[in-house]
């Protein structure tokens, strides 16, 4: 009897993100009944897709035991590059998207270079590039907003088989990331690197390649997430992406990715995390909570989730401790 109880607790603790998600959805549903519809769920996922894509990139970096604080600035500067190309050189949307992604990759590669080659700790590197990136973006735009043509906005609202493109792109990215992490050598090595960098080196893993890949992918996904967000907003202003690094990290952590590296998964973990965060903000609007309390409420829920996560880890460790004696 005791054992089955243990098992139940263990099962619950292992699926905290899912349980939390359902709980929050129900709570908002009760507070404001019109929230409790398929449409609002679709909206939440659609709005979550850009932050989800950024969070998937963040997951790679977190898995190696690093962190990337610069994704918000990356989103800004990459989309500014795309917007200016369209505005000043009348580039096509395709060219602009490619330039945007390339800018993101270069941004990520700079982070990778500083972390891997110059051995500066990721927190400091990406804090620096966060400020530099924002500065470069402001310089390019003279801190004015950059407007995008309708062609870009169409991407944000297009649908295929009734599914909005942002959600489709998000799904493709998640699937690709899942395959990369779980079904390729490099992916498994990223987990190993985050668990024990020195050990990974000793095991013959090219740790520098693994780390660099993580930062570059994070840069790429930040730019892509930025572009999708712009496609929904129609323009990029000077504050674009600011604070999104926080949401991306929070989404990953809510989804069970460890800040210490080596633990976590993009599906279902990070997907749930991203949708959860978005659901909370959407729910707060729907429940007509005072606008000034939104940040506090979001932060409180994230804090709560991380707290639960920490409790969960200690509990799981206790439950999975090996017994020595066989009790009759």
């Amino acid at each position: 009897m005791n054992r089955s109880m243990d098992k139940l607790i263990s099962l619950g603790l292992r699926n905290t993100p899912l349980i939390l998600f359902v709980l929050i959805f129900i709570i908002f549903g009760i507070v404001s009944p019109k929230f409790f519809t398929w449409q609002s769920l679709e909206n939440a996922v659609k709005q979550a897709s850009y932050i989800g894509i950024v969070a998937v990139g963040m997951t790679f970096v977190l898995l190696t035991g690093g962190i990337d604080l610069s994704v918000g600035s990356n989103m800004y500067v990459s989309t500014v590059v795309a917007g200016l190309l369209i505005q000043r050189f009348s580039a096509s949307v395709g060219t602009a998207l490619c330039a945007c992604l390339l800018a993101g990759v270069i941004f990520g590669a700079i982070n990778a270079l500083l972390v891997v080659k110059f051995k500066i700790i990721p927190f400091v590197v990406t804090l620096g590039t966060m400020v530099v990136g924002r500065g470069v973006g402001l310089m390019l735009t003279k801190s004015r907003a950059v407007n995008f043509p309708d062609a870009v906005a169409k991407i944000g609202s297009a649908e295929t088989a009734g599914i909005p493109w942002p959600i489709l792109i998000f799904a493709v990215i998640v699937a690709a990331a899942w395959v990369l992490l779980n079904r390729t050598t490099l992916g498994r090595q990223i987990y190993a690197i985050g668990h024990n960098l020195e050990g990974a080196r000793k095991a013959g893993i090219r740790t520098e390649r693994g780390q660099a890949t993580a930062y570059i992918l994070c840069g790429l996904f930040a730019a892509l997430g930025g572009f999708i967000s712009v496609a929904q907003l129609g323009n990029v202003n000077a504050g674009f992406g600011r604070g999104d690094e926080f949401d991306a990290i929070a989404a990953a952590v809510l989804g069970g990715v460890s800040l210490f590296g080596g633990v976590g998964s993009v599906f279902p973990g990070v997907v749930l995390g991203a949708v959860l965060i978005q659901t909370v903000s959407a729910g707060l609007v729907s429940a007509r909570v005072d606008l000034y309390l939104h940040d506090l409420a979001t932060a409180a829920i994230i804090f709560l989730a991380v707290l639960i996560d920490s409790v969960r880890n200690t509990q799981l460790r206790k439950l999975s401790r090996r017994n020595i004696r066989v009790e009759e």
Partner: protein, 507 residues
């Protein structure tokens, strides 16, 4: 004629100007098992690390199958067919056995970068069978016992089809039964004509396993000979450069009858059951048990790290309630854990900071500001009395010390708290013969001064050598108690194995 597979020529390495290895020349033949012995700091690890590509030599040359060999990193060594099974196993405990097997390169689906899961599973299963480990291939390594983890390491070496395998202290965390299983596997590896370098402190094992034995001392190769020409005594003589007539210090003191620690009916579900004993001042009480017998868990409960459901622990006639490590320290109990690297030392901190760690409160003026002068003088005093070999205790970092000296630092840390009860868990694990003797002397001297000592060990010989009384544990229970006059190796071992059949893979 057999041909040499591996040759070292005048290999040398210095760290910060201090030679760790000097002018070592060795030659191994195909399928040979070379035992390598030496005290800690003799250069065994350095030599193996050079072979395994972890560090690069300053001087000399290595040859493999007649070709010059100079690995720039471990992966190059691996590609050359050299597997290194480290003392601290190099497994990723967050990943599955399968992941660990192929972490540096999974089998792929045709020419895609995708992992061929089925092939990887089949191969993993086959290699796990080869090492007789019967667990699902998707088991996360975290959930395996130390012995099982080692088998995974060996399976990994097999999967890379390593022609040369380095074993660095493979038996330190294994039970007797697991060691036997390991030796059988090593035997099979030799039949397959693999070359093995076997580094160990267990001289008996080395003697039994090896074709030839190399003895290192102070970074130099003393001699290499056929194993048949060696005896344990001869190895020891060469290792320390002098005769050790006695492995254990004489018993000058006897236990008093004054109780220092009284334990009654200690029970924790799934861990220990009905543990009752008393420990007297000046007594060295040994606890013998196989790995997984509950001996270390008992120590953790006594010190207040882990909880216990029933039973009492009393000191000086007072019951101790709501036990925590802090309370235990206040109660003058000290605990030297079995794992000095992870639990006993701050590896990056200096010897002095490590030693002062627990007793720091005593040196704080007005409870807040630490008087460094007093700390330094107390620490130096203890460091001198324990003969800790460190350049400067205030600057030398713990991780650069040899195993024996590290262990002395941990013991010294607790001696600064002036303990009345000292719990030692595997105090001589992974340290060399000379340092072991010094630790034994420290234990007996402390007992002579009235300290009550509980000494846990998986080496029965050493308990017989230094203890006044031995408790035998198995399956979380005390199976028997032996006073010094009745020590009987065979009977103690029989009791230790009792009850170990019910749950095969733990013990």
């Amino acid at each position: 004629m057999t041909r040499p597979i591996l040759r070292f020529e005048h290999v040398g390495k210095s760290f910060f100007g201090v030679p760790a290895l000097q002018d070592v020349s060795l030659c191994l033949e195909h399928g040979e098992l070379l035992g390598i012995v030496g005290e800690n700091g003799a250069g065994k690890s350095t030599l193996m690390n050079i072979l395994g590509g972890v560090i690069q030599p300053d001087r000399g040359q290595m040859w493999i199958e007649g070709k010059p060999y100079r690995p720039s990193d471990p992966s190059e060594a691996k590609r050359t067919g050299i597997a290194f099974i480290h003392q601290e196993l190099n497994l990723f405990t967050n990943l599955s056995i399968l992941d660990n097997m192929f972490i540096d390169g999974f089998p792929r689906l045709a020419s895609t970068p995708l992992i061929n899961r089925r092939k990887a599973k089949d191969m993993t299963r086959r290699f796990l069978e080869a090492v007789a480990l019967d667990v699902p291939v998707n088991t996360i390594v975290e959930h395996l016992a130390p012995g099982e983890r080692q088998l995974v390491e060996i399976a990994r070496a097999l999967s890379q089809d390593a022609r040369t395998i380095i074993f660095d202290e493979p038996t330190t965390s294994l039970t007797a039964r697991e060691s036997d299983r390991l030796f059988k596997i090593i035997g099979r590896l030799r039949q397959e004509q693999r070359t093995i370098l076997y580094v160990s402190h267990n001289l008996g094992d080395v003697l039994q396993l090896s074709d030839s034995i190399a003895v290192l001392r102070d970074g130099c190769l003393v001699e290499t000979r056929r194993a048949s020409e060696y005896t344990t005594d001869k190895m020891i003589t060469q290792m320390v450069g002098r005769d050790i007539s006695q492995l254990y210090p004489p018993h000058h003191s006897r236990a008093t009858t004054e109780t220092a620690l009284e334990v009654k009916g200690l029970t924790q579900r799934g861990i220990v059951r009905n543990i009752t004993f008393s420990l007297c001042k000046g007594e060295v009480l040994g606890v013998f048990g196989l790995m997984g017998s509950g001996r270390s868990e008992l120590a953790r409960i006594l010190f207040g790290i882990d909880p216990c459901q029933h039973g009492t622990i009393s000191r000086r006639g007072h019951l101790r309630k709501a036990v925590s490590p802090r309370r235990s320290i206040d109660d003058r109990i000290a605990f030297v854990t079995e794992n000095r690297r992870e639990e006993g030392l701050l590896m990056e901190a200096s010897v002095q900071d490590n030693m002062a760690l627990v007793s720091l409160r005593q040196y704080a003026r007005g409870g807040q500001l630490i008087e460094r002068g007093r700390v330094t003088s107390s620490v130096s005093q203890i460091a001198d009395s324990l003969k800790i070999k460190a350049e400067r205790i205030s600057t030398q970092v713990a991780k650069n010390l040899s195993g024996g000296n590290q262990q002395k630092v941990v013991i010294g840390k607790w001696l600064l708290t002036e303990p009345e009860v000292l719990i030692l868990d595997e105090p001589t694990r992974g340290i060399d013969v000379g340092a072991k003797y010094e630790i034994y002397c420290i234990i007996r001297d402390l007992a002579a001064a009235g300290t009550a000592i509980l000494c846990i060990s998986s080496e029965l010989e050493e308990l017989i050598g230094i203890c006044d009384k031995i408790l035998v544990m198995s399956n979380g229970e005390i199976q028997g108690t032996f006073a010094r006059e009745e020590f009987d190796e065979e009977r103690i071992l029989q009791l230790a194995f009792k009850g170990h059949k019910t749950h095969g893979h733990v013990g």
